[in-house]
Symmetry: C2
Subunit: 475 residues, 2 copies
């Protein structure tokens, strides 16, 4: 999950507030953007769908999913042999070629890559050093989209603030300094603003660089990268994530008046846009093949770790969901379309390109599901808050087929970054919701690796997506 | 806590088994060497000490400790401004000079450094690279005492085993390979054997290098260093710790038949022995100054992180305990002696030197307490299992003064690496016991930093040691 997904979700939440209540929209969209488990306040109409006819199919799907190791084996190939997959990297293109070839071998239909030009940001070498009062290296990761420094780096005194309020109070005191944001994690939506906006807000006061405490509740000297955005009205300054440990060290030094002096070196830069692709595969509908249930994840990742939970796992989940239906001979009336978007993390070019390429058929998209919260134990789906109440009532009814595996919750809101563009065109969107207590521990880090994925949880995610997509596509 | 402490504790546990039960000693000392909370089975005699007279003093000590920030401020200077303190390093010697100077300023008595020559192992540059099937760097930390590689490093295929049993089965299959031990953490005492013995046991079968999964229950790509030991009967091969993530990756590749090929480079080596010192300070007894209650920790650390919990925090605790008594005018009848040992982690030269230098007065050591399990919330003390039952009964009685802060447990066994040498000469030993659930998460890592220390817990440790030392020294 990246910047644009966040913005899309925040935007959805605002819409949701306006839609589901009569109160005026609240001013600041700083609330938790992840789907919340609070029930929809409005009473729902009775469902118009009958699920009894689908109990056998659901049982077959769940049984097959939890006795198959194919999802885990696929994810192991993607993570262990291909690895992380930043836009513009050779590994992303290898991953795309592999998926297309394997999806064809799996017997999926209309398998193809749809060309997308993507930004090509590269990290290069980077380092952060404390020159005084305690010389030594500090662990860091440059933020995606940041500019680099000159070869000598930036050498400046650090000044530490706990929030934007302290920055405003400091004002011109930031001039010539490296501003360090030591904002403790509250929730992702609130805390990530320092990563997104920290550089430009510090640059406004003449800061020459910025460092952001990693957006995470826990750390073992663990830096978290992720996208940042420059405000076009401010000078661009380089920005990197530091660990909680380093942020707290600098805070203590700052508070003691030690005036820590740092040297930040980053080779980060943009190369010319690179060619990439959205990967698409289908299980063609038997009666209404032009009506589409879309299931999707993003195939790109940051350039650290393996992108196992974010979002390789979800890509394998939606792919395997379709393959499993194919294997079981469960071809629904409508088409199930699998989409693995490129470039979610630092551009959303894949999601936008899908909207542009498929604009003519958007009205035929019955439902678009995106999975991008890790592949932990599934809890159900988050349905966009603006969805018609009848749709909500029907999805809640269908979800009962998943109650035996605990994945029957339809949360009050949901969506996704990549399906954001088509949702804004009217497509009803939903997210796969999973147990989320440890996602942000590893999010955008070197520790987002396959060992963090529980094969049983992964299989349950496949079952959850397959049952929901099949019944919606067939009913 | 290091290798030698472990061995001392294992040895104590064996003694304990022999002493407290009529059963024959068990064969393998692989059980948890950390003091266990199980009660002493033997019924205790009634205490011969009366604690009522000490309630006021205990209240003053605890009140003063929990309202003082001096322990935390001292630990912050040690960690933030001096940093980690490996034997032979300039920072350890700076730390020793600082302690001696500050202890004098605190008004402690007989403050001095007692010269100790220590091993001087240096890590140098080091790296681990996977050449195939997925080229890239792997996070690692060389193990203390390991030899290095040639400048080109060792390039060899990896072979992964989950335990020594699998190594034995592999046998000559290890020849020319880098043996990777992927032993999941059960408890420190059992799992650390792979770190201690892994290299030599692999070398026996012709392995050219060894890698050991870090001895920890959790990881965010976190390598843990620590001491290893060569078996003189086997060729010396270089050995490093890898992360859980890397060990699991190599395991998967091994199991799939990928034959991962690695390149290990390490500059590790020993320089000539360096001069260091045990730091000693006293609160001289008013009536029996030649009788000694010893409170201690080890001042050296590994060369990563800040050695905040291991064992800088404990050093500050015992130092502050004495200073607090001085400040409160609580001078006991017997002498309280603070000792900060050098070189616990990779040599135990400090603990041995203390025994040799003070051999004449060991009979006058009433009790020796060592703190080396981190400075988490104190739970009480672990008393060596061989302690006379009357001593145990009396310490349990005294510990009642600490029941209000939950630190009144006298565990069935205890001791410490540095006090091991004098315990073997007959001194009764005890450990400060603390809440231990997260100690091994950060043990010997870059994440053993001050932010992991809770100032309230640290103050409670000071109170716990000060009350126990004062009453034992005065009663």
């Amino acid at each position: 999950m990246g910047l644009l997904q966040l913005l899309a979700l925040v935007s959805l939440l605002i819409q949701a507030t306006a839609f589901t209540s009569q109160e005026p929209a609240r001013p600041g969209p700083t609330a938790q953007p992840i789907a919340s488990p609070s029930p929809t306040p409005t009473p729902l109409p009775p469902p118009t769908v009958k699920i009894d006819a689908y109990r056998t199919a659901a049982a077959r799907i769940i049984g097959a999913a939890v006795t198959s190791d194919r999802a885990y084996t696929k994810l192991a190939h993607l993570t262990d042999h291909i690895g992380h997959r930043l836009s513009g990297s050779k590994s992303l293109e290898r991953a795309i070629e592999w998926a297309i070839s394997e999806m064809k071998r799996d017997g999926l239909e209309n398998v193809r890559g749809e060309k997308v030009m993507v930004p090509h940001w590269v990290r290069g070498e980077e380092s952060l050093e404390m020159l005084r009062p305690a010389p030594g290296k500090l662990t860091m990761l440059g933020l995606g989209n940041s500019i680099g420094t000159s070869a000598e780096g930036i050498t400046a005194e650090a000044v530490v603030v706990r929030d934007f309020g302290e920055l405003e109070k400091l004002g011109e005191g930031a001039r010539g300094k490296i501003v360090v944001y030591n904002a403790p994690y509250t929730n992702y939506g609130a805390t990530v603003l320092y990563r997104l906006q920290g550089a430009s807000r510090a640059a406004r006061y003449g800061a020459v660089g910025a460092l952001v405490r990693s957006i995470t509740p826990v750390s073992l000297q663990t830096p978290h990268t992720g996208a940042m955005q420059y405000d076009p009205a401010q000078p661009k300054i380089p920005v990197a994530a530091i660990t909680i440990e380093a942020a707290e060290l600098l805070q203590r030094m700052n508070d003691r008046g030690d005036h820590p002096k740092l040297r930040l070196k980053m080779e980060a830069k943009f190369l010319p846009d690179a060619e990439s692709a959205n990967v698409i595969a289908e299980l063609k509908g038997s009666e209404k093949p032009d009506e589409i249930v879309l299931i999707s994840g993003h195939y790109d990742s940051w350039d650290v770790g393996q992108g196992a939970h974010d979002d390789g796992g979800s890509c394998i989940v939606v792919w395997e969901a379709a393959r499993l239906l194919k294997e079981l001979g469960l071809r629904p009336r409508r088409t199930i379309r699998v989409v693995l978007y490129t470039n979610e993390e630092n551009g959303l070019r894949g999601g936008n390109a899908y909207r542009d390429t498929h604009r003519e058929e958007l009205a035929k998209h019955v439902l678009a599901i995106e999975a991008d919260s890790g592949v932990y134990r599934p809890e159900g789906f988050g349905l966009v808050a603006t969805a018609p109440l009848q749709v909500r009532a029907n999805l809640q009814e269908i979800a009962k087929l998943l109650s035996g595996i605990g994945a029957d919750r339809i949360a009050a809101s949901g969506g996704g970054a990549d399906i954001g563009p088509i949702m804004r065109e009217g497509v009803i969107g939903a997210s796969l919701d999973v147990e989320g207590s440890h996602y942000f521990d590893i999010h955008h880090t070197a520790a987002d690796t396959l060992d963090k994925v529980n094969p049983q949880d992964l299989a349950l995610c496949v079952a959850t997506v397959a049952v929901m997509a099949y019944v919606v596509a067939d009913i």
